[in-house]
Symmetry: C2
Subunit: 110 residues, 2 copies
């Protein structure tokens, strides 16, 4: 088929998958990198930073927004996008927990 059977997995599994998927494209990673670099919200200039057309960037921003990774406020003419702090703390937690579990095991059978 092609449709993902999200209903067969736990909420946590689906949540991590959704967040990871949103970060699963270099353009979207680059958008986050840029948001961190400029140390403020971005109001439009991302399009000039990325090697992609404006509609494509707009689409990637939308996807990041849908996943809850960034949020956008209308600021007069432009739109101000910024990172949602909580989400990356959550991602960090997810992977820290996994890394810790692996550290504890050390069952190097492979």
């Amino acid at each position: 088929m092609g449709a993902t059977k999200t209903d067969h997995f736990t909420d946590k599994q689906n949540e991590l998958a959704t967040l990871a998927k949103a970060m699963g494209h270099p353009a979207r990673v680059a958008i986050i990198d840029y948001l961190l670099k400029v140390d403020s919200c971005i109001c439009g200039d991302i399009v000039n930073e990325l090697p992609l057309a404006q509609p494509t960037v707009s689409q990637h921003l939308k996807e990041l927004k849908n996943a809850g990774i960034i949020k956008g406020n209308i600021e007069g003419n432009a739109i101000c996008y910024c990172i949602d702090e909580k989400v990356f703390a959550k991602l960090q937690q997810f992977f820290t927990r996994i890394a810790d579990k692996i550290e504890k095991k050390k069952t190097n059978c492979c």
Copy 2:
């Protein structure tokens, strides 16, 4: 088109995107969860744990393997899959760094 322009982004951006993408499906998250739960390698019983057909699970395992997240050793008749420890440490680092940068800023303009 549909093809991702990986050559336009940095190696780090592409690396994170590849790893995140591999974790961007609940079935693959569930596979990792199970690998952590059983506290050893998995030799076949993942198919019984997941609500997916054997070829589908095999495909997801292949994708995790391609991303370098798990590795598989042939163990006689069965195949022994286990997590590559380094990769999750790397993922943790990636997101910890981002979370730290966000913490430092606190430019709550939005």
